[in-house]
């Protein structure tokens, strides 16, 4: 079987670590990782719980393919009630931490309660104990990881930790593993910080055993790897240019949100693109990009490793940032760049480094800066309130604001609220470009209509990774659809949402879906796991997971009114590009989507739907 059948329950209030058997009936119904951990969370917490109270729980979970030979099988998820969103949160990360958890013999770790003092969890195979973290509190994610490895005299320990952002409960704090991979969205790092849990350090030497049919698994994983290698996107495009190659594509088609979504095209997009990362700089004759990189078991290797320009104003006196480090990826480059009108590639990498170092989601941070810059330009916020001039396009302001937010100083504390709370505080909630309190990623839904519906109905707030219809509407994967119409989008969004639930719950990367369909994943799961994992079953489980998350959100107090977009996207037409004159057609798509989902007009799953899904 792909599961270890073992859960570690950590009661932070009592200071205990207790193993317990994995609920295999639930594993059979919810697969693993996102789906299975969500089932545990929903079964154990009050949906109305304050996300930052001890009564919230946080689960780190692997899937049945995590740690195996399946390509990209290194993923793990953090499931909790989100600090940023007050909705279910499930943040997914790559790197090597997830596989290490599996190698140590655990499928998931459930954290409950709150430690009376800062602690970290140390796991060495079956041994698990909470240790004092007084010496780690206040350290960055990078320092914490290095300190733990040095302290245990083991460089092979894998660490997930929070930085100052999580400690200070910045609402978009994330959890960073392996220096520059992160469970990034929805404020999961703030939840971890609220529990006085600084880090989780794991060393596992058991490997993964118990694959149900190993010869079949070997054949299935090899065949699936060949599909990735032979596919032009996963075999060549992503390794060479990374996700950042989208910058010029999305700008060209008029869907690059710019200056807090005032515009849909950024005149300096080329300067912050993948192509720009390959260009040699005048200052030192070197390109920013050093190489690509892969997470555990990945045969795509889309990650970017870069070196910042040592002469740039942001780092010229800070040699610690001169080494090779992660970034820029598309979402971060957009949020730190186009969203604020900043076209300085080195400034974006500096802000990205600080987000990794201190544990902040660069999407929500960058988009919150965009909202603040708009409030500055319109006179809602003054220079005195912010502490500096912050017009759109100011790289200096971006670099200062990231430092202030990371260190919780001055106006940085207010930015740490996230854009929804910040804009509401200053009387202009409409300027927050968010859904359910979570900031949009890098696609303007006036130019890519389906994404408006995907954002509005995403169970974890605005997110591209819950239903990436960009694949179809822009890239033609699996088939090309027209991004400028709403026709057929409800069905398309549902299909992407349900399928993504399986990729996430299996423990593999959703980027495989640029080449794989569920039909490529199914033989791998069937060979790894006991029981029936037919295509029919997978389709049912994907839909079940989505509806289960929906039910949690409804019980938490969210409703159809929260499945909405900011008024700007529904009333202010795109000014340029192919979508010129268009707003997003959410109000047309949403009722149809509810019908396709088997929900009533209030967005509540019908009884027949729940019965069909076994909920």
């Amino acid at each position: 079987m792909g599961w270890n059948r073992k859960v570690l329950r950590v009661n932070l209030s009592a200071g205990t670590c207790t193993p317990e058997p994995l609920n295999m009936a639930w594993a059979n119904d919810y697969l693993g990782s996102r789906g299975l951990a969500s089932k545990y969370l929903i079964s154990e917490i009050d949906p109305k719980v304050d996300p930052l109270s001890p009564d919230n729980k946080m689960i780190m979970a692997t899937g049945p393919l995590t740690g195996t030979m399946a390509s990209t099988g290194g993923r793990y998820t953090v499931v909790t009630k989100g600090a940023l969103t007050n909705a279910i949160a499930c943040s997914n990360s790559g790197g090597f931490f997830g596989a290490e958890m599996k190698f140590a013999g655990w499928d998931m770790i459930i954290f409950e309660g709150k430690s009376p003092k800062p602690v970290y969890l140390y796991v060495e195979n079956d041994k698990a104990e909470l240790r004092d973290a007084a010496h780690l509190w206040g350290k960055t994610c990078w320092e914490a990881e290095e300190t733990i490895k040095r302290q245990h005299q083991d460089p092979l320990i894998r660490v997930s930790s929070i930085g100052g952002a999580g400690e200070n409960q910045v609402m978009f704090a994330c959890i960073v593993n392996d220096l520059h991979r992160a469970a990034g969205r929805s404020g999961v790092g703030a939840v971890m910080g609220s529990k006085n849990l600084k880090a989780v350090a794991i060393r596992g030497t058991k490997g993964v055993s118990g694959i149900k049919d190993f010869p079949a698994f070997l054949a299935a994983t090899n065949a699936a790897k060949k599909v990735l290698a032979d596919n032009a996107v996963t075999g060549q495009g992503l390794p060479k240019y990374g996700t950042q190659v989208l910058m010029n594509v999305i700008n060209e088609m008029g869907a690059l949100p710019t200056r807090n979504h005032r515009d849909v095209q950024f005149e300096e997009a080329g300067k912050i693109s993948a192509e720009a990362m390959h260009e040699k700089r005048p200052s030192d004759g070197k390109a920013q990009l050093v190489t690509n990189a892969a997470c555990f078991g990945c045969t795509i290797a889309c990650g970017r490793i870069s070196k910042i320009d040592e002469t740039h104003f942001s780092v010229k006196n800070s040699p610690k940032y001169w080494g090779a480090s992660g970034g820029l990826e598309y979402e971060a480059a957009w949020a730190l760049g186009a969203a604020n009108g900043v076209g300085d590639l080195e400034a974006l990498q500096y802000a990205n480094l600080l987000c990794n170092e201190h544990g902040m989601d660069p999407i929500s941070f960058g988009a919150t800066v965009g909202a603040a810059m708009e409030m500055y330009e319109t006179g809602i916020l003054s220079k005195e309130q912010i502490g500096l001039d912050a017009p759109f396009g100011s790289a200096e302001a971006l670099c200062q604001l990231v430092e202030m937010t990371a260190h919780g100083k001055g106006f940085g504390k207010e930015l740490g609220l996230g854009s929804a709370r910040l804009c509401a505080k200053y009387g202009h909630p409409e300027l927050s470009m968010s859904v359910k309190g979570q900031e949009f990623p890098a696609y303007d839904s006036r130019g890519i209509q389906g994404m408006g519906l995907a954002y509005a109905t995403s169970n974890r707030g605005a997110c591209h990774l819950r239903g990436y219809t960009v694949a179809s509407e822009v890239l033609g994967i699996p088939v090309k659809t027209d991004p400028l119409t709403t026709d057929g989008k409800p069905e398309l969004v549902k299909a992407f949402q349900d399928a993504t639930g399986i990729f996430d719950s299996a423990g593999i990367c959703v980027f495989t879906s640029f080449a794989w369909t569920l039909a490529d994943v199914q033989p791998q799961l069937q060979a790894a796991c006991e029981g029936d994992w037919s295509m029919d079953k997978l389709n049912l489980v994907g839909e079940r997971i989505w509806n289960m998350e929906r039910q949690f959100n409804l019980a938490a107090g969210l409703s159809a009114k929260d499945d909405d977009l900011p008024p700007r996207l529904k009333t202010e037409p795109a000014k340029t590009g192919p979508a010129k004159g268009l707003v997003n057609g959410l109000d047309k798509m949403k009722p149809e989507y509810y019908k396709v989902r088997g929900w009533d007009s209030a967005g509540v799953p019908e009884q027949a739907t729940l019965q069909r899904l076994g909920l």
Partner: protein, 83 residues
Amino acid sequence: MRVTVKLYATLADYLPAGTRNNRLEVEVAENAVVDAVLAPFSLPAKLTHLVLLNGVFVPPGERASACLKDGDTLAVWPPIAGG
């Protein structure tokens, strides 16, 4: 008439040496079709994947008939993705 051709990612190798910002203005015949505008660049067919005319996708079946106007922009990518 004059149109702008933009070749991105690995297709930048097919632009003349020294081309800046992945873009080149070219003189083409009136009502030139997409395929005709791209022909001088000798792009491999399997790399001529995502073709946008003024930001709008031109399906492979229409590239021999879709005409450009003066001032239009044609942008091309090989198979790529992101997220």
